[in-house]
Amino acid sequence: MGITFRKETFRDDFTFKNSPEHIRRFPFPFNEDAYMYAVNIEPHVVGPKGSVLENLIDVDEHYVAEMQDRALVLAEDPLRCQSLPHMTLAGWDLLELLMEQQALGYPEHFTLERNGDRWRWINRPLGIDDTFTFGDVSTLPYGPMEYITRQSQGDFCILDQRDGNLWMDAGMVTTQADWSLDFDIGMNFFEWHAPVPLAHEKGIFTRALKFLTNIQQGKPARRLNWTMTVNPRLDTSPENYHKWGPDRATVTPENVGDKVHLRVELQSFWRLPRSNGIVFPIRCYLIKMDELVTQPKWARRLHRVIRDLPEELATYKGLTRYRPTLVEWLSKLDDDGPTSPGFGPD
């Protein structure tokens, strides 16, 4: 039995929502009642059935709608997908990885047939059946990175490794939490993270870089990151901030549950075999407050996390304007009872 793909939007009328099964599989990012930065990186291994970790590249009920939204973003702003000239080989690496993983995890939806360099890729949800020569750019309608990431959920950054650093030299970035690929492309690991508050002083990036530059092929790693978004909007880019920014002023006690979304990024890190680059998929999961609080443990815990979040982090995450309204709303769902350890719902 395959996935039933929802027909929904991430803009205009915002019809996005999660089915009850998808609410329970949401990657809730807090395993205790408080939040601070940590180098929370762990091996990216397969997790329980029914979780977002059931497959290492997760495809879910939002797949088709997300790919349609990505196509709209790219039509408006092609600079969201860029690859510096030396990154084409890494693009082929990524194409292989994503085709293999999607075909492995979801054989009813994706098929990859290989006959030497001659490959056939069937993507049934998007109605694609292409035969091409691996390594020959002229046999695909786009460059290899763009081709496959128009068919894969999440943003993708490809990092070149040289001089003991990682360089943001290619990417497909249409569902980002307020950072610009066009501005950051070509920067090293410390430079593109420069605007993040507090973490540099804590040595987070030095340790993270050391870890990432040592990632081995076949041993990917992962971490979770989070922010909040008003309306289920995937494209919260700085490019369009003047268009979506006003949403943040529309939160009222009456509409918090429907408008405010927890936005979780499942970031994974994979060594690429031919280019020795690292690909960094940033998979975005959205859940509206009304959906999240159907799990009482999550409601209690999110209330405590948001209430106690350091001011600098709240500002960086853009919560300032609606945090009091959100905390007040969540407080009514927090009976001060204990929360069980771990991320999952009770």
Partner: protein
Amino acid sequence: MTAKTIISRPIYGTLSPQPGKHHLFIADAEGALAITDMAGKAPPGFFDGAEIVFIPDPEGKHISALEALEPAQLHLPPSFASLLPRLRQTLTNAHMGLRLYLAGTEGLIGQAMQAALEAGVDHTSIETEHRGSLARRMQCVHCKGITENVTTQPAACSHCGLLLLVRDHYSRRLAAFQGVCINAEDRSEIPPMEEAFP
């Protein structure tokens, strides 16, 4: 003065003579003084293998001081834009071992470095010294237009007109600081414009 800075913000040094036979200086405004200050520390004959490119102000201030160094070549383009085709050719044809020295305003250093990066020069091998105005070159993240010589915070984009927060986040590739709409969430909020980068 910039009190607290971030890692992507460029850090400039003081020009010092590097080993090598070929030296290319690019300077504007008070950057000429960085070159003449450095000349005191340079070994004899240093400027025999040096080309100085200097974009002078309308009064031609500092030109005679640079002439006195007797460089192999002194070139005085009227603007950076007019220099660019020649600079690109010089960098493309440059021998290994050409040393690059950039001095003057941040916009000049950034744009000359951008041309050097495009020619494959490693940015860490370039000597830089900031002199003169703190005015910033800013890219509007929304319309992508570049506004030159930004001295205020916030600043209006000269292309789309949005009122932008001039961040410290800097791209060498674009030779620009990032500008992000400062009142995107509520356009009726208009923060006062203050002189920030004189």
